[in-house]
Structure formats: structure tokens, C-alpha cells
Amino acid sequence: MKLITAVIKPFKLEDVRQALGEAGVQGMTVTEVKGFGRQKGHTELYRGAEYTVDFVPKTKIEAAVPDSLLDQAVEAIIAAAATGSIGDGKVFVSDLENAVRIRTGETGDQAL
């Protein structure tokens, strides 16, 4: 099992959700987050007062997938979230030791 953590542009959330669904991913957790990468922040100007905003609003998606689904899930995210401009985000993949479905007690791939 793998845990996919994707940080994307907020307006791409709906596209990514749909693409992951089509790739066979059964569920996900979405969080509104702030951060920066190479995009850095942006500046805002109020009556001549210029403020640099370091942390840009992003959306974080977490999805646990069986190893067999990993490649197509990651590809689905990349295809759906890409705009080609700076700040499209990143996808992180990490090993996942176990998962439990609370209602039934199923574990591992069965729980996903």
C-alpha cells in the first residue's frame, strides 16, 4: 500500500477528484493548506502599502492506494492538475504500513 499526498492548485481539485475516481481510487481526504515552493508568494497592494504574501493557498489531497493502482493514480493526478505554469504543485508517495476499515475491521488492501 502507498500513501499519495498531492499538493495542487485549489481550482484543480474537481478535475483531480474525477481523474482519481476514473483511475479506480475509492476515497480521499482533502485539506485547504498554505505553503510555497519555487513559485514563492505574491505581493498585495493596499493604498500604496505593498505586502509580500509568502504562503500561497493550496489544496492537499491524501489518498491511500494498493500498489497495483499507484502508477495510474499518480499519472491521473499529474494529468489533471497540470497547467504548465509555475505553482502546479507536487505529488509525494510514501509507504503505508496498514489500513483498517473501522466499521468491519478489515485490514490492508481490503480496507481501501
Binding site: E44, L45, Y46, R47, G48, A49, Y51, T52, V53
Partner: protein, 431 residues
Amino acid sequence: MKALKRCVASGCALLAATLPGIAAAQELDTGNTAWMLTSTALVLFMTIPGLSLFYAGMVRAKNALSVMMQCFTITCLMTVLWALYVYSLAFGTDVGGVIGDLGKAFMAGVAVDSVSGSIPETVFSMFQLTFAIITPALIVGAFAERMKFSAMLCFMALWVTLVYAPVAHWVWGGGWLGTMGVKDFAGGTVVHINAGVAGLMAALVLGKRRGFPQTPMKPSNLVLTMVGAGMLWVGWFGFNAGSELAADGVAGMAMAVTQIATAAAALTWMFLEWMAHGKPSALGLASGAVAGLVAITPASGFVGPMGALVIGVASGLFCYLAVVKAKRAFGYDDSLDAFGVHGIGGVVGAILTGVFIDAGLGGAGLPEGVSLGGQVMLQVIGAGTTIIYCGIVSLIILKVLDATVGLRVSEEQEQVGLDLVLHDEQGYNLS
């Protein structure tokens, strides 16, 4: 029946016309009264909720409620003081051109049948009260986010007594500036220069907000600010066209020039910002509109539409420079630009009133025997006197209060935010 009434009415009018003695100067006019009742409501609407929203949107979220609370409390406090003695000081029988007497204290003699000009004196008094409400409320913008609520109340009570009442009397109550020929139709001097200068003094005495200007202090909700600016614009028709105290041609022209100057100033500010920074901003557009409203205020009953256009462009330009450039250059923290917009806009309007009142420039015409240069000089005297008097007295009030009750909240309180610290409430409980 209707025809009979009309017949009787016209008969009376004919009689009144032929017998001038019957048509006394103090006759109530229902049309004028209807318009002044409306205007009074419009000007009150400028402060609550107009100015309150305009300001609340510009402060940080932790202080949004505090500025609304200040504006609302000022409305209440000014009303009570007005009824007790401030109306009398401003509009009572003139004493030496300087102040009104206390003959109207406790609203003495203001009864159901009292008439002022062609409207009930109750309406006149309430209309003038709304000006005495918005003027101190404007000052809130200069010291927002750091003044103690108790100190604010003391300051406003003293200020309306020692500064607003005398200056209003000088210009409108039969005092020396009005007698001298200074033209201030709706309060460029009495309201805007007065509030702007008092605000500057408050900003200087209180000092900068902690972290200004290096820490970001982003407006909490510019949507509220845009809504408030719109309400100010609408309410200003009561402010300017109402200052004619009648529903007539001058009131109509005052409304027209108010609209034109405001639009011109808003566009001026927007394009200046667009040129300087690459993007037009909503806050800039709204700020420009308020600058235009301020500058056309003294001129509104005197100038023509093209004069208004020039006044609008000039106020947009000068207020933009004051807010965006001068404030940064001098380093004072006029939080919401009460001085930059109202002080500077008031001066621009006061001086240009003396220019565009000229009939040759489309205005109502200079008073007999006064040259254009002479009128401009009078306007400079009016503005200058107000700046000096208001500046000095405001400074004294602030210093006295600072030494006694203390003006400023503690560093920790400022950090937490005035909503929670001073009122045990929060403007926003969104989660």
C-alpha cells in the same frame, strides 16, 4: 372635494402674495420639509452603517468590531450631547461671532411648531446633528486599532464641545468666518478639514501601530469596504443637496456636481494606481470616490458641472499623493487615511470652491465686489484658521487625556486585538 381644496389653496396663495405681511419669512414649506426629513436620514445612514462598514473592512479582522462599535457609540454620544448643549453652542444666538449662547440648551424652545427657515426647527436640528455625528466618526480612521475605548469617548465629548461646535458656529451659525464671506456649502471646512486635522493629531500623539509599516496589516474584508463606500456615496446626496435646506434648483445642482466630482475622482485614483503599479484596485477606486465626495462638499452649492469635474480630478490626484506617497515619506500612521483623504480633500475642495464659484467658470457667481483672487484668499483663511485652531485644541485635548486616562491600549492588548480585549466579543466567529 379635491377641486374645492385646490381652489381654496390657490386663493390663500393669491392672498399671501398680495399681502406680503402674511407670507412671513418663517413659513413652513412642506416640500422643503419632506426633502430635509429625507436628507437627515441619508446623512445618518452615512455613519451607521456607511462609514462603519467602510472602516471595518479596512482594519484587521481582530479589530473590525471595535471600529464599528466606535462609530455607533459616537452616534449615540453626539446625539445626547447635541440635545443637552452642543446644538445651542453651534446654532444658538451668536456671542461675538465666536460661539452660540446657551439659549437653546436642553433643546429649549424647539417645539412642534418652531420653524427654522422654511422647515421645522426639529428637522434643522436633527439634520445638523447628523453632521456632528459623522465628523467625529471620521476621526476614528486615524487612530483605529490602538486607542482605548474610554479615552476615545472622552476625546470625542471634549472635541465636539471645544472644536466642532465653535467651528460650525463660525461657518454656519452666524459666526465670523461665514460673515467674512468664507464659502463652505456642506462642510468642507467644518467637517472634513476639521476631522482630518484632528485625526492627524491623534495619529501623531498615539504613535504608530506596533509593526507599522513593516508588518503586513491587510484589510479584513474589502467587500464591506466597497459596500460602505457605496453607502457613503448615496448618503452624500443628503449631505450636499440637503445643505441647501430646501428642495430647489440649488439642491438639484448640488446633487449633480456631487455625482460628477465623485466619479471623476474615483477614475483618477484608479488610473493613477494602474499606471504606477500595473493594476487597478477596488480599494483605490473606493478611496478616490470618497476623496471626490469630500472635495465637492464645500463647493456643491456654488459650482457648475465642469467645475465639479476639475475638482474631482484634482482631489483624486492630491489625495492619492497624500495617501500613497506622503504618508510613507513622513512615516506617520494615519491607519485608514482620515487625514490623507478628508484633510487633504477638504483643503483642495475649499480652495477650488473659491475658483469655480466664478460665473465665468460655470459657477453661481462671486459675491458682489469680491474678485476671484479675493474669494480664494477668503477660502485659504477659512481652511487655515480651522487647521490651526483644530490642530492646537485637538493636540491639547489629546495630551491632557494621555496624561490622565491614557490614550493607548497595552502592547499585549494591541497584539490580541481590540474586539476581544475591550469588548469581550469578536467581529468574526467563522469556524
